[in-house]
């Protein structure tokens, strides 16, 4: 579904991605883990078109999208719940969800999808008229995921959805991610919480200062000594 070849990204003189290649197949959960500053966020931002690569290609469902606009990528079915949630804080919860469906014209279906998001996150329904900035961190994360789902993505990219959440909530978010995947959405998950990410992932890539240092199935990587030492605290 998604195929990245030899992707290079620069910020001025900083070489943030140094020729990474990765693949996500339809129906998978793929996770991207790695230390701070490894380039995980940059990878997702480049996939969604916010950052232009200096070299390399990105293919989505067989189409070269390397220079496609972010809008076109949303239209094709790529959606990102960005790092730090980035919800529209002074707009209401409902307005945030509506903006998630900005490119869609099927009003009735949008309504249905909003109810589906409410079913998945009942708290958002209670808060629908409230300014999104007044939500708690966990609720904001739910809104960010819900909003990303509103474009009916084929590939949902999530950047550290568990960041700053209490352990119980982290578990809930991971359950939700698995459920979204079961209902047919492919997932590319960036996480600091490596052990939980590896548990739910079909496959995983490990990033280290702009390169991919290791890859394999979630189970394989969980057994790897290197990973245990570096990311799983043992």
């Amino acid at each position: 579904m998604l195929e990245i070849n030899n992707l290079n990204v620069h910020f001025g003189v900083i070489h943030a991605l140094k020729g990474i290649s990765l693949k996500v197949e339809e129906g998978e959960i793929v996770t991207l883990i790695g230390a701070n500053g490894a380039g995980k966020t940059t990878t997702l931002r480049t996939i969604s078109g916010l950052k232009k690569p200096t070299d390399g290609t990105i293919f989505f469902n067989g189409n070269d999208i390397t220079s496609a606009s972010p809008q076109d990528r949303v239209r094709m079915g790529i959606s990102l719940a960005p790092e730090g949630r980035r919800i529209f804080s002074s707009l209401t919860v409902l307005e945030n969800l509506e903006l998630g469906a900005y490119l869609r014209r099927d009003k009735a279906e949008i309504k249905k999808d909003i109810s589906m998001v409410y079913e998945r996150f009942p708290i958002l329904k209670d808060r629908r008229k409230q300014a999104a900035g007044t939500l708690s961190g966990g609720e904001q994360q739910m809104l960010a995921i819900g909003r990303a789902l509103m474009s009916r993505p084929k590939l949902l990219c999530l950047d550290e959805p568990s960041m700053g959440l209490a352990p119980l909530l982290v578990q809930e978010i991971f359950d939700i991610i698995q459920d979204i995947n079961r209902k047919g959405t492919t997932i590319l998950l960036v996480e600091q919480n490596a052990s939980m990410a590896l548990q739910i992932a079909n496959r995983a890539y490990v990033m280290e200062t702009g390169t991919i240092s290791l890859s394999g199935t979630g189970a394989e990587l969980m057994q790897s000594e290197e990973i245990k030492k570096a990311y799983l605290g043992g």
Binding site: S48, G49, L50, S69, P70, Q71, V74, R75, S79, L80, P82, R86, I87, F88, S89, S90, L91, E95, E98, L99, G100, Y102, L103, R147, A148, S151
Partner: protein, 294 residues
């Protein structure tokens, strides 16, 4: 008391004009954090377009207004595309200096074509020459026209911003440009649209001021532009209702100072207000105190 009410009437008329200009400042600032110094010159161009429509084509006020708004819309979009869009990732000071350059270009470019002399609007006809007396307070038909047109335009603007798809996109882009891109919003088009709206309102203000004060010149945009900017800051720059309130406030204060005090001070007072706001509440009347993001 009656004199006071008369000043209020005059202040509201002048304030309408400031409010219309301030809206463009505030919307553009809201979306790209640029104080568009060329905005006052769009207003001047609106006044000239209205003048030509009425003097040479003998059009009525409303058709002239619509034409001025349409041409100013176009100019606003062209200026944005040529001067500001290439600077999307430049520093704010670079864009600001460009805006000053655009402003000078419009002022002296206009002077080249229409000469520097003051021109007067053709005398109005029919109902627009009337004035109405309420006790000893005089309300002219022109004042009523100005206020009515302003209210209609503001209601229309509110509708666009609150209810339409492009309005939602404007609000999203002004809150978080990257997040807006992720929703599939075309940020460049949204910014152009914001310039279009602001310029249309400035164009309308230009022709209304031509009708009200009768005389126009190529540098007429400078001072009202600055005052409208103060109005936008007063209300809270980036906040649409703030610009409306600020416009009426500044207009009324100016008229009061001229009426009761000394009209020599009317401009100085406006800028004293700016300094006061910046000391007391820099975020303006409706602005929230936000910590500068680092």
């Amino acid at each position: 008391m009656e004199q006071f009410l008369q000043q209020i009437v005059n202040g509201v008329s002048l304030g309408s004009i400031y409010a219309l200009i301030a809206l463009g400042y505030t919307m553009v600032y809201g979306i790209i954090k640029l104080i568009n110094f060329a905005h006052g010159d769009i207003y001047m161009l609106g006044a000239y377009i209205g003048y030509f429509c009425m003097t040479y084509f003998h059009l009525g006020v409303i058709p002239s207004l619509l034409i001025a708004m349409a041409i100013c819309t176009l100019l606003g979009v062209i200026i944005e595309r040529i001067a500001y869009k290439p600077l999307r990732n430049a520093t704010r000071i670079a864009v600001l200096i460009t805006a000053i350059g655009v402003s000078l270009f419009l002022e002296y470019g206009t002077m080249f074509f229409v000469k520097a002399n003051v021109r007067s609007y053709p005398p109005l006809k029919g109902i627009l020459t009337h004035s109405f007396k309420l006790g000893s307070i005089v309300v002219t038909a022109q004042q009523i026209l100005i206020v009515c047109i302003t209210i209609i335009l503001m209601a229309f603007l509110q509708f666009i911003v609150k209810r339409t798809r492009i309005g939602k996109a404007m609000r999203a882009v002004s809150l978080d440009r990257d997040a807006a891109e992720l929703m599939g919003i075309n940020v460049d088009n949204t910014i152009s649209f914001t310039f279009a709206l602001g310029s249309a309102l400035a164009g309308a203000a230009g022709i209304l001021v031509g009708i009200y004060y009768n005389s126009i010149n190529p540098l007429m945009g400078i001072l009202p532009g600055l005052k409208a900017f103060v109005a936008a800051v007063f209300g809270g720059i980036g906040i649409i209702p703030g610009a409306m309130i600020g416009g009426y406030f500044i207009g009324t204060v100016e008229v009061m100072v001229a009426g009761y005090g000394n009209s020599m001070f009317k401009d100085a007072v406006v800028f004293a207000i700016l300094i006061l706001i910046l000391i007391v509440k820099p975020s303006g009347l409706l602005g929230k105190e936000t910590k500068e993001k680092v």
